[in-house]
């Protein structure tokens, strides 16, 4: 994969630091399965959102003061006084929502098509680590405007650690740097909010490294058998990804320009007050399903442990799913439980949003039970007794068959 060029400068650089062949190898020649669907666009969308968050974040940081007395008014200053400050903040604030939406779709894609199965386990792990880092980053970011939701969200989440026996108390006071959430907490959260996105960049690099080791999975879930099954990444997938980004930007702009308030909480326009909890506190929508699981357990320690388990179970997925078949397309029974699981997550999210009284509590428990049943019972057992549908011999064979079929129906 040497670079063919007569350009002296390119050759000079290439000899010392082979960036050009690296670029060719990863972004131009890189062979990708020819049958990738639009569900495969969400990886590049996630990368795009990471860049958007970092760029808007750095410019916001130029106007933001991380002190408990000034933080709230500096964010109001960004909204009212800084040129285009409202735009930058709306991009960043709604961008966090877009980022999670894209990553959740990316994750469910992986779940449906078995992308976590051998040999992509480490690729999957890096993805879960990125998700955990994103959650931490978004949590730290959400405290920065220092409104009522910032303050009380941070209180509830840091207090999760107080459930740990014996040392819980010492850990929370260490996290807060005081008797409660306060000025020292805001300062350190800002430092970490600035740092973590760059840790995410490093994790993404490992994620892509692992991806390129065995290549993308595909909707059929069968291995690439040769060049007849693939297309070069450029121009086929560069163009497809750019097209995806364009469509996505239309969606993103709708929220930025027409309805940013839908993704923000009005209580956060009231400055943090340590002596007054808002009547109804709830996290951002992307944490609601996990929050609902926490709330559905009437025991503090167990609730916190199940909350942790609900995310960390993703690490176990490659071993919990016992089926050798990757793609849900060929797994008639798994497929049904998968869609119930998707609906279950939406229900959990909705229940996390309701006040914690009445029948919502009961339905929340049922939804939480299904969440864990799916991972610990359904996935292992379905893999044993389910009989997969017959699979095509190769990717190119499947593509040709489909074409032939279509030609047949057109003739008839």
């Amino acid at each position: 994969m040497a670079v063919e060029t007569n350009n002296k400068l390119v050759k000079w650089i290439e000899y010392r630091l082979p960036v050009f062949s690296f670029y060719r190898h990863f972004l131009v020649e890189y062979p990708a399965p020819k049958n990738l669907s639009y569900w495969w666009n969400f990886g590049s969308l996630a990368g795009f959102m990471l860049v958007v968050q970092i760029v808007t974040g750095i410019v916001l940081a130029m106007h933001y003061s991380p002190s408990a007395t000034l933080a709230f008014s500096s964010v109001q200053g960004i909204m009212r006084d800084v040129n285009y400050g409202w735009l930058l903040r709306y991009i960043h604030a709604t961008g966090a929502s877009m980022f999670f939406m894209v990553v959740y779709i990316h994750l469910f894609r992986g779940l449906y098509y078995g992308s976590y199965k051998r040999p992509r386990e480490i690729l999957w792990f890096m993805g879960v680590i990125i998700l955990l880092l994103m959650m931490a980053t978004a949590f730290f970011g959400y405290t920065l405007p220092w409104g009522q939701m910032s303050f009380w969200g941070a209180t509830v989440i840091t207090s999760l650690f107080s459930a740990i026996p014996v040392v819980g108390h010492a850990i929370t006071s260490w996290l807060w740097g005081g008797y409660a959430i306060g000025a020292p907490t805001l300062n350190r959260f800002y430092a970490l909010h600035y740092l973590l996105p760059f840790v995410i960049v490093a994790a993404v690099a490992l994620h892509l490294w692992a991806l390129h080791q065995h290549g993308s999975n595909n909707p059929l879930g069968i291995d690439v058998k040769g060049p007849q099954d693939t297309l070069p990444f450029h121009p086929y997938y560069t163009v497809k990804d750019l097209f995806g980004i364009t469509i996505f930007l239309i969606f993103f702009c709708y929220w930025i320009f027409f309805d940013p308030g839908a993704l923000l909480n009005p209580d956060n326009s009231i400055m943090a007050n340590a002596l007054n909890t808002p009547p109804h506190i709830e996290p951002e929508w992307y944490f609601l399903p996990f929050y609902a699981i926490l709330r559905s357990v009437p025991n503090k320690l167990i609730g916190v442990m199940l909350l942790g388990l609900s995310v960390c179970v993703l690490f176990l997925l490659p071993w919990l799913d016992t089926s050798p078949v990757r793609s849900g397309k060929f797994r008639p029974i798994f497929k049904q439980f998968f869609w119930i699981f998707v609906i279950d997550c939406v229900i959990l999210g909705y229940i996390g949003h309701l006040p914690p009284i009445g029948p919502a509590k009961f339905y929340g428990r049922i939804a939480a039970i299904y969440y864990f049943l799916f991972f610990f019972v359904i996935l292992p057992f379905v893999g044993w007794f389910e009989r997969p549908k017959p699979m095509p011999e190769s990717i190119s064979q499947a593509v040709l068959d489909k074409k032939a079929k279509r030609a047949g129906t057109e003739k008839a």
Partner: protein, 241 residues
């Protein structure tokens, strides 16, 4: 302790005889394959492990300042001194909230009817810890009314679940049903406490609200943060905020 324990484990494994992995390690270190006979411990192996253990201990020591800097600083701790509050203006049945150590402290002036509910079996049977057995109050408040003077309840108003501030909710409040005798309701995840801030069963909060150290300087004034004479109870001894 951990590095020493690990070193000891590897060391004993070596003493038992060269396992494959350790041979690999020591040969890369020395460059020559260590052809020591079964069971013999080479001086180099010992030095290797001792140096390794010391490095781990040193690294942990160096890390400590970077960890400890996040603990509450001197100024924050200095601001946590006791405060005096005048309670004479609180009408019976009313409550005031004052800030002590950045946290809300409830001072509730209980009516005789309020105090009666504290002994009602209908309430007491539903409590997790009706007799205040858990260390959530100083010994001088470990009684049926969880206070020094039953007329005044003094508690830190931080839900023992995840830190929200519970609301004082009067008897018969619509959302809590007809059997509600009055008490505290936490808006965050629905924990409930009675009028002594004792937690009910079946809610996520595990413990009663903590009672801070306090005493009456005179019948009108409560000093929060300082024990009565003769007690040296430490607030750090409580199970949990």
């Amino acid at each position: 302790m951990l590095p020493l324990w690990l070193a000891g484990k590897v060391f004993r494994a070596q003493a038992r005889g060269p396992s494959k992995r350790i041979d690999l390690l020591s040969s890369t270190v020395s460059g020559t394959p260590p052809a020591h006979p079964e069971g013999e411990i080479k001086r180099r192996d010992f030095l290797f492990l001792a140096a390794g253990a010391l490095t781990v201990v040193g690294a942990a020591t160096a890390a400590w300042p970077f960890i400890d800097q996040m603990n509450p600083d001197k100024q924050t701790i200095a601001l946590g001194v006791p405060i005096d509050v005048d309670v004479s203006g609180i009408e019976a049945g009313q409550q005031i909230i004052v800030a002590w150590r950045d946290r809300p402290v409830f001072i509730l002036h209980r009516t005789p009817e309020n105090l009666k509910t504290l002994k009602e079996p209908q309430v007491v049977n539903d409590l997790r810890d009706p007799d205040s057995k858990q260390m959530q109050q100083p010994p001088y408040a470990a009684n049926w009314h969880r206070s020094i003077n039953p007329d005044y309840l003094v508690v830190v108003g931080i839900c023992t679940h995840l830190g929200c501030i519970p609301h004082l909710t009067k008897a018969g409040a619509a959302e809590l049903g007809a059997s509600w005798q009055g008490g505290y309701f936490c808006p965050c995840h629905g924990s409930k406490y009675d009028l002594s801030a004792r937690v009910f069963e079946g809610v996520p909060a595990p413990l009663n609200l903590p009672v801070p150290p306090y005493h009456f300087v005179d019948p009108k004034t409560v000093r929060i943060g300082a024990n009565p004479k003769g007690s040296n109870w430490s607030f750090n001894a409580i199970e949990q905020i």
